[in-house]
């Protein structure tokens, strides 16, 4: 009876819900639509004062307007505009017109006439400017309508003579955005005049207001951006603007000059005060270089940045930028380059590095020395020692770009880059190291330069050191002493910072393979072999020894004579390392060794890699088993999981795949185990205890599936389906276990209902993939769906149970590239015995430094968790700026975690670990019908949670009571 009653209530309830939803939805739609323009009209009529009207307009502006009702609204606004006396209200209306004309799906050409009309009668400058802005919005909305554009340009020209800078600004903006170079014919007072937009804009380069001048230059740049070719005549005008009093003008002018220099690099311009000529791009380069020592740092940054992209500049100009002393005006005396150099080394100018060398001597030819017209001279020297690090970084970047295109320049700028390694700001140091890495193809480091570079290895910042390791990976060293020096310094680094181990090994790998001939003479020394005596066998676990071996083995790969120098234990160590660190140690062709295997190795294609084959085979083996006895299945699964895990450890490139598959198999194993439980055959009251196992299995499967879904990058839709399917099975298991263990059916109603909803949801989300899931659990489930919907919970459970047992094992297709997200906390190291003391109630900042691998979008997903000994857990969201991206797929989190607690009597450990937050709704593909206004009923299925993905680190802390 009770059950029957329940069922009725249940049924009625569902009905009510549906009706409500429908009604609300329809009502909403009808209510919102027609009111817009009418309501606005009423509001505006009601307004007694301009302030009121303004309020109404402001309120109105907050809501979006549909495309169909825009026209009506516009009419009402215009109507009100004509009546309105208050300029601020008119201003608002004008701005609203602009906003409305941007509405998608609305064609604003009908407003244009009105807008132009009101423009003619408007007196207030501000409103005028706003109206022009509106026209700009209209014009940009109708880019293909020539007539309208022409008309708007005319309007803009007419208002260019306005006294207010704002209006002129807007006019210029309009011209820049809409003006075309095709000469349009308009009627002037006297006759036909040709209107050239560039000329008109160019006239305003000498406007009295700096803002208008800036706007004019910007308009010109806008023309260029729209693909119109600027005249070369602008160049001279722009050059004059470089000495403008206002920084924004200068900044824009620098840009304009750059644009022109890219358009006409080869045309010839005369040098003032002489009768020689040079290429325009060289001239522009000189001018921009000059701006690197501008008074305003904004201009300096701009200039330094643009220098980098001027690749056509002649090499001798380029090289001047690095020589501050070479001050002769090379543009006039190009051939006198060498003479000028001598002149300086002969001591007219002192460098200030030797005592007394600035004592005045006889002047040789002061006419040749020119301090100010020096153009490019020393631009980078200035840029690199600028006060603002923004300028320095820009200069380093520019150097990088120029050096990439010119090897000779790269060689020259090396010294300067090396000097930047000593900059006081870490970011600049880092940037210059990266820059050096990028140009390393073009350069070979001299020993003294290498010395300076290597000195940075002692830097306490891990970022810097790692960047430097990467730099060393791809540098060319010229001598064997250089290699030795690098090795010694790297080993020093290794002892000082043992955490750098992997990075250093990798670095030595490349160093070795790049310089086999330089390593060769060093081998006896490095291995400390002696021609006559046997030396002690070094410790195989010593990271430093491994580092040396990595260097040597990689060099030996292309140097066949080298293995002859190895002693016996070296060969043994090779075999060991080749096995344990296969990514660092290459296969060598060793005399007397198995030549067969090495003979095969070159021909190995990536997908034929034996380990990959092994992976495939073992998976095949598992999937092919369908009708094995349960015991055998379990054993095979366990075996395969073990194999896969081992494989993942050995082959780092396969780690992701192996791990992913292993996790899936583990889920399957758990499921099988759970179904093997005896509990299914025993009467309910007896297996209360045992059911723990089954429900724990269900829970664990759920967790594992979340891990599979969110911890791996590169998971595709195919896998997501399988994962979801597995989860569904786990849920079914859970349901069954609950049904068996709980007395009474009351809680089952809810659970069943929920489960069925989920099945429904699964079907909708993965409808496209359902054909692939033949014969699976869900396939059968969906067949029986109608029956399940109507049957009682107990029946549902029964059906589920049988289906779960019958369902087959789904084949998990492997994605191309899959990587497991992982994190390592470098700091805090968790080894300190000294507790971190702080006053209770106040906060203490704990520095957290971690590397993250293969985490997508870490800014939003990675969290830090702090667990206090009392079980209190705290989740901290790091700032987006705390994440760095040192390489593809790698991230580094450097943040501060604030701890606080009430007083303790003893120091205790808190645990810090990283969590990966997930939100299941983000992964699920949206089927089209879910979109739209309807509220999805499956809100509860979008589960948010976190997965711990790093080892937790213990930090000893001690909150002390505050002293009074």
């Amino acid at each position: 009876m009770a059950a029957h009653l329940k069922k009725r209530v249940y049924e009625e309830f569902t009905k009510v819900v549906q009706q409500q939803q429908e009604e609300i939805a329809t009502k909403k739609l009808r209510l919102t639509k027609p009111s817009k323009s009418a309501a606005l009209h009423i509001d505006l009529c009601k307004a007694t004062s301009p302030a009121d009207a303004l309020q109404y307009l402001l309120q109105f502006a907050r809501k979006p307007v549909e495309a169909e009702s825009v026209e009506g609204v516009v009419r009402i606004l215009l109507e009100h505009y004509y009546k309105e006396n208050d300029p601020s209200v008119r201003l608002k209306i004008a701005s609203l017109l602009g906003l409305l004309s941007k509405t998608a799906g609305f064609s604003p050409d009908c407003i244009m006439d009105d807008a132009i009309n009101i423009l003619q009668n408007e007196k207030s400058h501000q409103v005028l400017a706003q109206l022009l802005d509106t026209l700009l919005a209209i014009g940009t909305k109708l880019p293909e309508n020539q007539a309208i554009q022409m008309r708007l340009v005319d309007v803009a020209c007419k208002h260019l003579t306005d006294t207010s800078h704002g209006v002129r600004n807007k006019c210029l903006q309009l011209l820049g955005n809409l003006g075309s170079l095709e000469k349009s014919v308009t009627k002037d007072g006297e006759g036909l005049a040709v209107r050239d937009v560039q000329k008109i804009i160019g006239d305003y380069f000498s406007d009295q207001d700096p803002r208008v001048r800036t706007a004019a230059i910007k308009a010109m740049l806008q023309l260029h951006e729209r693909g119109l070719k600027l005249h070369q005549t602008i160049y001279n005008q722009a050059c004059k603007l470089l000495s403008d009093d206002y920084e924004q003008v200068r900044s824009a002018a620098v840009q304009l000059i750059w644009v022109v220099s890219q358009l006409y690099p080869e045309s010839i311009v005369p040098i003032p005060s002489s009768n020689e000529e040079i290429r325009l791009v060289d001239d522009a380069f000189g001018k921009i270089c000059h701006m690197v020592s501008d008074g305003s740092w904004v201009v300096r940054v701009q200039a330094a940045k643009l220098l980098g992209s001027m690749e056509q500049v002649s090499s001798h100009f380029l090289e001047q930028t690095l020589d501050k002393k070479l001050m002769s005006d090379l543009r006039r005396k190009r051939t006198a380059h060498e003479r000028a150099k001598e002149l300086y080394s002969s001591g007219e100018f002192s460098t200030g590095r030797k005592w007394g060398d600035d004592a005045p001597k006889e002047e040789i030819d002061t006419g040749a020395v020119n301090l100010i017209e020096s153009g490019a001279c020393g631009a980078f020297v200035h840029g690199l020692e600028d006060e603002m690090y923004e300028v320095r970084i820009a200069a380093v970047e520019a150097l990088c770009m120029l050096a990439q295109s010119s090897p000779s320049f790269a060689e020259k700028c090396l010294d300067f880059l090396v000097d930047m390694f000593n900059d006081e700001i870490e970011e600049v140091r880092l940037q210059s190291i990266h820059t050096m890495r990028k140009i390393s193809n073009n350069i070979t480091l001299r020993e003294d330069q290498l010395d300076t570079v290597l000195a940075v290895l002692e830097d306490s910042s891990r970022d810097i050191r790692e960047a430097l390791h990467e730099l060393l990976c791809c540098t060319n060293v010229s001598t064997k002493e250089g290699i030795h020096l690098a090795l010694v310094e790297l080993l020093k680094n290794l002892t000082k910072y043992p955490t750098d181990r992997d990075s250093i090994w990798k670095c030595l790998k490349f160093l070795g393979s790049r310089h086999p001939t330089l390593v060769l003479p060093l081998v006896p020394e490095l291995l400390s072999t002696h021609p006559f005596f046997d030396t002690a066998e070094p410790d195989m676990d010593d990271p430093a020894y491994i580092a040396v071996l990595v260097l040597i083995f990689n060099a030996a790969k292309t140097c066949p004579t080298m293995p002859a120098l190895f002693s016996d234990h070296t060969f043994r160590h090779y075999a060991y390392l080749r096995d344990s660190l296969s990514h660092l140690v290459p296969a060598l062709r060793l005399p007397g060794r198995k030549l067969v295997s090495s003979a095969v190795s070159p021909s190995i294609m990536p997908h034929e890699d034996p380990s990959h084959q092994f992976l495939q085979q073992s998976l095949e083996r598992v999937y092919s088993l369908q009708h094995l006895d349960p015991q055998g299945t379990q054993e095979l699964l366990e075996l395969t999981i073990r194999d896969l895990q081992r494989l993942g450890e050995l082959q780092s490139e396969l780690a992701g795949v192996a791990d992913f598959s292993a996790t899936y198999l583990r889920c399957q194993l758990l499921l099988i185990k759970a179904l093997q439980e005896k509990l299914w055959n025993v009467a309910a009251p007896l297996y209360l205890k045992q059911s723990d196992l089954a429900s724990a299995a269900a829970k664990q499967i759920m967790e594992e599936t979340y891990k599979m879904e969110f911890m791996y990058s590169g998971v595709e839709n195919k896998q997501v389906v399988i994962i979801h399917h597995m989860r569904l099975q786990a849920k079914a298991l859970q349901l069954i276990v609950t049904a068996r263990t709980t007395r009474g059916v009351d809680p089952l109603f809810g659970m069943c209902e929920k489960f069925l909803q989920e099945v429904d949801f699964f079907q909708r989300c993965f409808i496209a993939d359902l054909p692939h899931l033949q014969d699976s659990f869900v396939d059968k489930l969906l067949d029986l769906m109608p029956r399940l919907m109507t049957s009682k919970p107990v029946e549902v459970v029964k059906i589920l149970q049988t289906m779960l047992r019958q369902s087959t094992f789904l084949h998990l297709p492997l994605p191309e590239q899959i990587h497991k997200a992982s994190a390592t906390i470098i700091e805090p190291a968790g080894e300190s015995d000294n507790p971190l003391r702080f006053t209770s109630g106040l906060v203490v900042a704990l520095d957290v430094d971690a590397t993250l691998e293969h985490v997508q979008d870490p800014q939003s997903t990675v969290k830090v968790q702090v667990l206090y000994p009392d079980g209190q857990a705290q989740m901290i969201h790091p700032k987006p700026a705390d994440f760095r991206n040192p390489g593809p797929g790698r991230h580094r989190l450097i943040t501060q975690v604030y701890l606080s607690h009430t007083a303790w009597t003893e120091p205790c450990q808190v645990e810090v670990r990283l969590l990966l937050a997930y939100n299941s709704s983000s992964r699920i593909p949206k089927s089209p019908w879910i979109e739209g206004g309807e509220v999805s009923p499956q809100v509860e299925t979008s589960i948010e949670g976190t997965i711990p993905f790093s080892k937790s680190v213990k930090v000893y802390i001690m909150p002390k009571p505050a002293r009074r």
């Binding site: 003579t161 002393k325 460098t351 690090y389 000593n422 300076t452 306490s460």
Partner: protein
């Protein structure tokens, strides 16, 4: 003729004892008041009797400005204000105000306690003197009196060093003090806006030097010190002035920290410790890096640098010591030098003689010291080099440049460069020599808005940089000038409009019709008239006493000949507009005309 007069009392073709007198538009300003390191007699202070033989200095000087706290820029201040007697305001920046008395006190101690000089200023005098100081902020315009205003700009060089703009009306002078155009480890670069003064007084210490990039210098220095310390040697770094010591300290401190070195670094004198305290406080005056990071850690709180004790000099093992004075002529640096000179492992950067290569030195007491230690010279001076000076001149765009604080011969060279390349006149007076610079102050004239708008409406295109002519009447009443339309001028003066008509009769013998002839004459005139005809008319008008043709800018004639009350300075902007209408001119009746 208004003029600016500049007389250096010190630092004219010389380094040290900076003291420059400037008279600008009737105001007298003294820039810096320093002492000379090289002298111990009267010559060490500027000769203030030059200013006035009798009477108090306060009556002659409107203010004194101190650019920074180095003694060659402020050393004579207590003597000047307390012993010679000056009660007017003394302007300096806040850090200068804080550190200056420490240095003065130290200087006094050496002079009185060590050398036993009598008749020297006392501690109390220093205190009294500092009471007269008015501290200024950067970019703060300080009104000294109704007309004279000064403004400070950042100069680099040392903490609190400033450049000053001195301005009276439209005339102005910029005094740079000592400045540095390249930023270093603790200070930023000098910066000034394009203020276009009449005169720029700039230091020229490095008039003939273009320095290497500071990075090379720093790297050299660090490398050399590092090597010496690794060898186990001791490094003596004699430093000249407060400020440079801090720079080197920061350099070494950060290097020690980055490289994790352990050798001790010592800092010799107590005075710098006090000054260090202020360095920690005036963070806003330092460079970007220190300003941005001081919240985490104040860079001036050194971890590796400790105070020096005399006994430490004999300690074994490597160490680095900063000691004063820079030239090893006395004091602690000399003592340490004597101890260490014998060991070739040690390194020092010292003394003139040693630098010039001498290896055997005769000390007091006739003993001969053999120098075995390595000697290096490194210039970390925070002065602008030749290129920096040129850069600043270019940035300021002055009408003239005046060089001080440098050696005459080097100045000569720089002067030549400036005149050649910037086309700016350049002066380099010796001490006591006066440079006179004529100026042409502009006189502001008020113009009625109505008139301005009317005239604006006539022009079509904006060419802001070109002068435009406009009709109007200049009214000079009391000491203000106004430009109003002639109608309004008439109204204000209560005069009626008076029309003059010039006619002349020309007989034309033309057989054509009247109409045709008129047209031909018109077109002919139109072609020829613009210049000759209208100038002619203009001149005749002038003779008639009502009109003055002028093709100059409006302020041109105003400046040249201040007429007594009303003057019509208008000309038709478009001479060809109505030639046939006849020379009908509107002019205020009773207008006085002055020839010219």
């Amino acid at each position: 003729m208004p003029e600016i007069r500049v007389t250096p009392l010190g630092a004219g073709q010389d380094v040290g004892r900076s003291c420059i007198l400037v008279s600008i538009a009737g105001k007298n300003v003294m820039l810096d008041c320093g002492m000379h390191m090289g002298f111990n007699d009267d010559r060490r202070f500027p000769d203030f009797s030059y200013i006035t033989r009798s009477g108090r200095l306060t009556d002659f000087l409107d203010c004194v400005i101190i650019s920074h706290f180095h003694l060659d820029h402020c050393g004579a201040l207590p003597y000047f204000s307390e012993m010679v007697g000056y009660d007017g305001p003394i302007y300096m920046t806040h850090p200068t105000q804080a550190i200056c008395p420490i240095l003065l006190e130290d200087y006094r101690k050496i002079a009185v306690d060590k050398k036993g000089e009598a008749n020297f200023f006392t501690s109390q005098m220093i205190k009294d003197c500092m009471k007269k100081v008015v501290a200024v902020h950067l970019h703060q315009t300080v009104q000294v009196d109704d007309e004279l205003e000064i403004k400070a700009y950042y100069a680099g060089h040392v903490l609190g060093a400033a450049m000053f703009q001195i301005k009276v009306g439209s005339e102005s002078v910029v005094y740079t003090g000592d400045y540095n155009m390249t930023p270093d480890r603790h200070l930023g670069a000098a910066w000034i806006d394009r203020c276009r003064p009449n005169l720029l007084i700039t230091e020229s210490t490095y008039a003939t030097t273009i320095r290497d990039s500071k990075r090379c210098r720093e790297r050299d220095f660090l490398k050399k010190v590092h090597e010496a310390v690794e060898r186990g040697g001791k490094v003596l770094i004699p430093v000249f002035a407060l400020g440079r010591a801090q720079e080197l300290c920061i350099l070494l401190e950060t290097f020690w920290e980055r490289m994790n070195l352990k050798a001790p670094i010592y800092f010799s004198t107590g005075l710098t410790e006090k000054a260090n305290h202020y360095y920690k406080l005036f963070i806003t005056w330092t460079n970007q890096k220190i300003r941005k990071t001081f919240v985490q850690r104040n860079m001036f709180e050194f971890k590796h640098i400790k105070a020096f004790d005399r006994a430490f000099a004999d300690n074994p093992g490597p160490m680095v010591v900063f000691a004063t004075p820079g030239m090893l002529h006395a004091g602690q640096s000399l003592q340490i030098f004597r101890k260490w000179a014998g060991n070739e492992k040690n390194m020092g950067t010292v003394g003139h003689k040693i630098l010039s290569g001498q290896r055997k030195l005769e000390m007091e007491g006739r003993q001969v010291l053999e120098v075995k230690m390595q000697v290096e010279y490194m210039s970390f001076s925070a002065h602008a080099d030749a290129k920096g000076i040129m850069q600043l001149v270019g940035q300021v765009e002055p009408e003239g440049v005046l060089l001080v604080h440098g050696e005459a011969k080097k100045m000569e060279f720089l002067k030549q460069k400036i005149e050649q390349e910037l086309r700016v006149s350049c002066y380099m007076p010796a001490n006591g020599e006066t440079v006179t610079l004529p100026t042409s102050p502009s006189i502001p004239v008020g113009i009625s808005l109505g008139l301005l708008k009317r005239e604006m409406a006539q022009g079509l295109l904006p060419d802001a940089k070109k002068p435009r002519l406009l009709h109007g009447t200049l009214i000079m009443k009391d000491s203000n000038f106004r430009l109003v339309s002639s109608e309004q001028a008439l109204k204000e003066l209560g005069l009626a409009e008076h029309q003059l008509r010039f006619t002349c009769r020309v007989h034309l013998h033309d057989p054509r019709k009247e109409q045709e002839t008129a047209l031909r004459v018109y077109s002919h005139l139109k072609r020829w008239a613009p210049r000759s005809f209208w100038l002619g008319l203009g001149r005749s008008g002038a003779r008639g006493g009502s009109h003055c043709a002028s093709r100059q800018r409006p302020q041109g004639p105003l400046r040249a000949a201040p007429s007594r009350w009303v003057r019509d300075c208008g000309v038709h902007p478009h001479p060809g507009c109505c030639p046939l209408r006849g020379p009908r001119h509107q002019g205020a009746a009773g207008v006085l005309d002055l020839p010219g």
